[in-house]
């Protein structure tokens, strides 16, 4: 089968556009979409310090390389940040991939761990059978360390590698949970809020499958393992969306595009007098006196004051 643009051997059928792509055109297309997203949403400005959150998987390592390619041309300063949650047999291998990539690129890199910052690894936290699911503790605490780490690196922006699949899954999850506040934050960039390094998502419109192909074809040395704690509703939504996309190509992108259209209206439903304050325990931004991560840590019997 041949590429629709150059006749070389095709590696991918982009069914939602009705075209076949060869390795070169797939790579070119992903890079074009990345650059388009950055310019359309004005994600990066000249002179800024941009920290990319890197787990060592296909998406975040690809984003690291994509950003490193444009660092000089766009005139920003790149650094990388990794959070080691302490997931046995999983995270240490992806951290190693990250270590190699940042060394190869000569990018400043910061590695933060749950063990160092909270006194326990995620696996140790979960041994006590806490009240909530593993992804809640992991997600909330990881986001806290990403924000802390980005501030310590002096970042103006924190780039994360959320792809189209991640975004659409998050829309469904927040919708099902009725979490309007989180739902409204699901845009290409977070509105600046006191105490938070603004986050940007340059891969938000690129399907997971195209990111995987990009990483493989560009020979990014990434870690392809599954998180052992991954289960529950998130995984079910993921399967449902992949099934939907298989039977109805372009569904994921249409869901995202429509969500982006209604998001400004949804945001109007949020209470307007909502103000963030500093958490009394850790000083990070909080909706009440104590931030969510300190609440969760207290649940686990960990104090951070």
């Amino acid at each position: 089968m041949e590429c629709s643009f150059c006749g070389r051997r095709a590696v991918y059928e982009r069914r939602y556009a009705g075209v076949l792509l060869c390795d070169r055109h797939l790579i070119k297309s992903v890079e074009h979409r990345f650059r388009l997203a950055v310019s359309k949403h004005e994600l990066i400005k000249r002179g800024e310090r941009v920290t990319v959150a890197v787990s060592g998987g296909k998406d975040s390592l690809s984003l690291l390389y994509l950003l490193a390619d444009r660092e000089d041309a766009w005139g920003f300063e790149l650094s990388a940040l990794t959070v080691d949650e302490g997931i046995d047999g999983y995270r240490e291998r992806s951290v190693e991939k990250t270590r190699r990539a940042v060394a190869e690129l000569g990018v400043e890199w910061k590695l933060l761990s749950f063990k160092e910052r909270f006194g326990r690894t995620l696996d140790e936290m979960l041994r006590g059978n806490p009240r909530l699911g593993p992804c809640t503790y992991c997600g909330v605490l990881r986001r806290r360390l990403l924000n802390e780490g980005a501030k310590e690196l002096g970042a103006d922006k924190l780039a994360t590698a959320h792809n189209l699949d991640d975004e659409v899954q998050a829309i469904f999850l927040d919708y099902i949970r009725g979490d309007l506040q989180r739902l409204c934050r699901l845009g290409p960039k977070y509105e600046p809020r006191e105490g938070f390094v603004p986050r940007i998502k340059p891969l938000r419109e690129i399907p997971e499958k195209e990111m995987a192909l990009y990483a493989m074809l560009r020979r990014v040395d990434f870690y392809l393992g599954s998180c052992p704690h991954r289960r529950g509703m998130h995984a079910e939504i993921e399967r449902f969306l992949n099934r939907l996309e298989t039977h109805h190509p372009n569904s994921k992108l249409m869901i995202l595009k429509f969500f982006d259209r209604i998001r400004p209206k949804l945001t109007e439903l949020l209470p307007q007098d909502f103000n963030l304050q500093s958490c009394k325990l850790c000083g990070e931004p909080a909706a009440g006196e104590i931030c969510r991560s300190c609440h969760l840590l207290a649940d686990l019997g960990i104090t951070t004051a």
Binding site: V11, L224, T246
Partner: protein, 67 residues
């Protein structure tokens, strides 16, 4: 026709498919969504509409990993 199928991280098996069946047909039979995998046939990444031939070696790589 017989083809060898390996799912990355799992075992390998031989499967029987009708002559000229595509990768897509193979995935359907295994109840695998094409959106969740990348497929290599005889070492090359290929579109799911590609036709398979007897003796082909297919590697199915799940791409959904989380975290």
């Amino acid at each position: 026709m017989k083809i060898r199928v390996k799912v990355w991280g799992r075992g390998e098996e031989e499967r029987e498919l009708p002559e000229g069946a595509s990768v897509e047909k193979l995935l359907e039979g295994m109840e695998i969504d094409r959106e969740a995998v990348v497929v290599r046939v005889n070492g090359r990444i290929c579109p799911e509409s590609e036709k398979l031939s007897a003796g082909d070696e297919v590697l199915i790589i799940p791409i959904v990993t989380g975290g």
